[in-house]
Symmetry: C3
Subunit: 456 residues, 3 copies
């Protein structure tokens, strides 16, 4: 390959972090990362999180050991668009004792037992009255459901339907030791400045208590992504948000309305560790660069996967994709929310998270960042007919063979489509070649003086 | 649901007839309507109609008992674009007597026996000469065909091929007692004024003699549609045309060229009662609102159906879709013209019309009107993030469940897409929800002050 | 059909060559043309062609007997974009003699045996050294490959892998009597002037030695196409180029850069005679008129065929489709280059070319020219409703039948879509009718005064 000392053709750090991200992918140790992820999930899992409170703070502090998140506190009562930051909920214990003194439910054994945001209550109630405060799943009788009551004051317990059916008439002692008081909503944030002010957003929800795939896995993965990106000098600025679902995203958007306009590309991470196939839910606009980058990465993966259109239901892509923002934010998950039987039940425990699958999801996120970082548009400097690659050492010398090598095909595609109107991602899609191969070809041609980056 | 006294959020009569049409659909008595349709068809069937004449007038007068059509007479010789209104044809009797005095064909038994627009003729002809005046169907030897000779003076009889083959040599007495003389072309019209001058056109042909599905059924159905719409206060003005095929539509367009420009949406109704599936033939432009409304209604019906592109052959969509008009007029039929074996033969008798199918077609027309009437574009008044539906009583209070109810999904879709660029029909299509559900959600959100109709 | 003496409605020679080309197709004698093609291929096949030299000149002179090509000589050293016209190669003989005096390879028996562009060499080499100069195909052990070394000085032989494996150790006598010296690159060109300056380009490569399908067949077919077009008075100007692959196309484009901008439509012809199905590779833009014309012709052929998107690999469409030119040039072949097992081997001999298939390819090229020549846009002069075709003798008199004849359907389509925005090819595509039928209908309507050619 020809070498050159011209500053315009020398690949340098201004190219973004694509090279570093590719190197990280190529040197990834899946087993070691899987072990690390599993340990973090085990640590996060038992904590009783909610959309506010000490459980949320404690979880974010664990993530701070992985990446330097900043914790923000937004006071109760702060208006955030059509909503108001709620009172802070804290939970010490919640027990339900049966007529014979037996423990029916105890949040210290499984924090799903307490209705999340339950108001404090201490007293004795008869079974008939108690029933109005119980939640169970008749169709999954052995599982404890996860239920919340953020915006209607209520107390309650969740338990398996099998257990509920065994409850005998009589007096039950309720002792729910929680507080609901003015305080603040907490979220974690890390901004990694890049060469450009445009941002890549990665947002994940942190409000669920003992649910491993939804979303201890997402919290761990996003922290590891933040750690990786912070070790590069990226082209884009990267913003990682660890927020309570719905109200957290709304709060961030309300307090950062101007900054939100800088988000050029974004992903909502959730349900990233189960054994299901990767599933991409497009952004509201559906054909943005993030949509095309993710679809390209999934196609190139050679794995079974699914791509779906946007719907206004799901996780925080609902807020980022509301019509007043309409940000280019999709959601890359494994099995989508609500579609695996363990979803929002006691069966979403750490055993549901498959380390290799979680590492695979991590890898695809990094490949998406690689595509965004490296997705430049070049202009062919010898656009009339093909340039003679052979004299530059870029082409085989003996002719007559019928198939060009993959690297030569990538060069021919890059040369042919680098007319200022096609980015490398456009070229990779049209050529049906992996982005990394196309980018490698472009860098070789750039080094040979045959390509220049488009100013546009 | 929140109530409101603000005039801007109160759903009122200015919303068009969608509510009334939905109520009519929901309270439809299919059996009763089927009986009514069958009686009308039985009454229309024996009349010897043509593109002019007393049979046509008599038929329109029957329809006037259902809806207040106005009858128009256009004199023979009136130039209508490239055509001229022809002389008026009237038929008293037509008999063909064989060599032994037997009746070979008698229009009083079946009016298809006389070549439609046959000139009068009385005389004796030998079999060889007679053959040039006979029409039969060798491939359907037991059926009598329907044939016309509007623009070339001729006399003739139609009979079954089986009968024709049994004709013996000899002299045949022909007695065709018809008149072809200056008079007028008759058509029926009903304009139901709406809130807007833009019109919905429904056009059906009335020129065929004893053919039940083509088009006694269409005449009956369109009259019933006119009756229903005239009992509402529609948004659009509705124009129902009962015209002789081709020349009638051309005549109306020539005499109403300026008014025709007001036709915003239209359908040609024909072959609406056979047992075949519903078939929609798109307008010439193919992607107009009427096309999308009909396709949406058919998809939401859950029934097998077919959608076809426009072709310049068929019924009067040919004229409405000529390049000088290019109106948004499609055609909603059951089995399309020419595609059922009984088409234009004596087998298209009242038994071919299945009352339930005719009522089903009627219902789909009403649903199309409902979609047109209710297809407003709204603007979300709280577009930044989702509004808090719960505090307005529009959302379930206990969270954590995985699937929103259909009504909640409809509200989320309407909020998300009501950016001023998506009508309710757009939203129904994208959400894959029935139009009525989407409209109901929009009305609830409008009542809660979260939506305003777009001025555009 | 109505006749007319008005100059605006009389079809005349200004209509291009579509009528003549259709007549040529209809009167084609496939057997006779097949015999002619076979004779030319037999004559071209044994000549040792390359990208320069006497073999190329001799081949073009043979084609001059069919069509009056002009031969151009471009001197060695002429800069052509990023390339330079190479030295001229000429070959007299090349023999390889084994240790026992046996002839291992002799280019007089098969000119593929000599590495094309081999430098001269005379000497004795041991087997081990010889191996570095041998080319064979381990996966096709009985076939001799075609190999070139245009831009790296080398000598060598090509032979079957079976023979190579039988070579015994010892001394081999090499006698390659070639010259590589300043001279010129030769190409053939025929410009047939048309009514317009815009050009139709047909380009075929002439550099391959004894390969029959690739491309003696293409050379013969293009010469016959040039002969046919030169006997008409076409609307477009036609430029036939017979060039050495890659460097020849680059040379022509470099020396004719301004003229190249006149190329409105073009095809690269190669591999046109094998028994495979027709395959069209779209132009770089993919949706140009040539793309649509070829796809229409292939669809109307009723034969199995394939349409592919452009790729920047293949024959000279690579150069015509480089981003600095981006010409509307596709490639119509039978089995594409590299996809039949005989490709670039000794098995691509005259027996691989099937005369009927080559004639079929010829016919499709002519049909493409017919479509280009006749693809006018008309304006309906009676656009409001349908004109009365019957009074002009253009329509059957007895009505009521369900299916219009094909010719009537073509007239209805042409009338309906001739709004100044649809060319006849657009209409043929939408109507799914053969172009010739649509054009015939348009000419009849034009003669009746119902259509005028659009000025645009």
């Amino acid at each position: 390959m020809a070498s050159s000392t011209s500053p315009t053709t020398e690949p340098g750090p201004r190219d973004g972090a694509a090279d570093d991200l590719r190197a990280a992918i190529d040197s990834l140790d899946p087993a070691a990362l899987g072990v690390e992820f599993h340990a973090i999930i085990q640590e996060l899992y038992p904590i009783c999180r909610s959309i506010t409170g000490e459980g949320l703070r404690a979880s974010l502090r664990i993530l701070q050991r992985i990446a330097p998140l900043e914790l923000h506190e937004v006071p109760t009562g702060t208006p955030v668009f059509d909503w108001v930051v709620p009172r802070e909920w804290n939970h010490r214990s919640a027990r339900l004792i049966g007529p014979s003194g037996e423990v029916v439910a105890d949040s210290s054994r499984l924090n799903l037992h307490v209705l999340n945001y339950s108001v404090p209550f201490r007293g004795t109630v008869r079974l008939e009255e108690l029933q109005e405060h119980l939640h169970s799943l008749p169709e999954q009788p052995t599982l404890v459901p996860y239920r919340t009551s953020y915006y209607r004051e209520a107390w309650g317990f969740c338990l398996s339907d099998a257990q509920r059916n065994r409850l005998v008439p009589g007096d039950y002692q309720v002792n729910i030791d929680t507080t609901l008081a003015d305080g603040s909503l907490t979220y974690g944030e890390l901004l990694i400045p890049g060469l450009q002010d445009d941002e890549v957003l990665v947002s994940t929800h942190c409000c669920h208590p003992s649910l491993a795939n939804d979303n201890c896995a997402g919290m761990a993965m996003c922290a590891a992504l933040a750690r990786l990106v912070s070790r590069t000098k990226p082209r884009y600025s990267y913003r990682f948000l660890f927020v309570p679902g719905t109200i957290g995203a709304i709060t961030w958007l309300a307090l950062n309305e101007v900054r939100a306009r800088r988000i050029a590309h974004g992903l909502v991470a959730a349900c990233v560790g189960d054994r299901g196939r990767l599933t991409y839910k497009r952004s509201r606009r559906g054909d943005t660069e993030i949509d095309r980058a993710v679809v390209h990465v999934l196609r190139s993966s050679g794995q079974e996967h699914e791509v779906r259109d946007f719907t206004p239901y799901g996780y925080d892509e609902r807020q980022y994709g509301s019509p007043g923002f309409d940000l280019a934010v999709g959601s890359l998950t494994r099995t989508p929310f609500g579609e695996y039987p363990e979803y929002h039940t006691s069966a979403d425990d750490p055993s549901l998270v498959v380390p290799e699958k979680l590492v695979d999801t991590f890898r695809r996120y990094v490949e998406v960042f690689e595509a965004l970082e490296g997705n430049y548009t070049y202009v062919n400097q010898a656009p009339k007919c093909e340039p003679q690659l052979g004299k530059r050492g870029l082409y085989g010398a003996v002719g007559g063979k019928s198939h060009a090598q993959a690297s030569q095909m990538a060069m021919l595609w890059v040369l042919n489509l680098s007319d200022g109107h096609h980015s490398l991602l456009d070229i990779a899609e049209r050529a049906k070649l992996p982005f990394a191969d196309v980018r490698r070809a472009a860098r070789a041609l750039e080094a040979a003086g045959l390509l220049l980056k488009s100013a546009g």
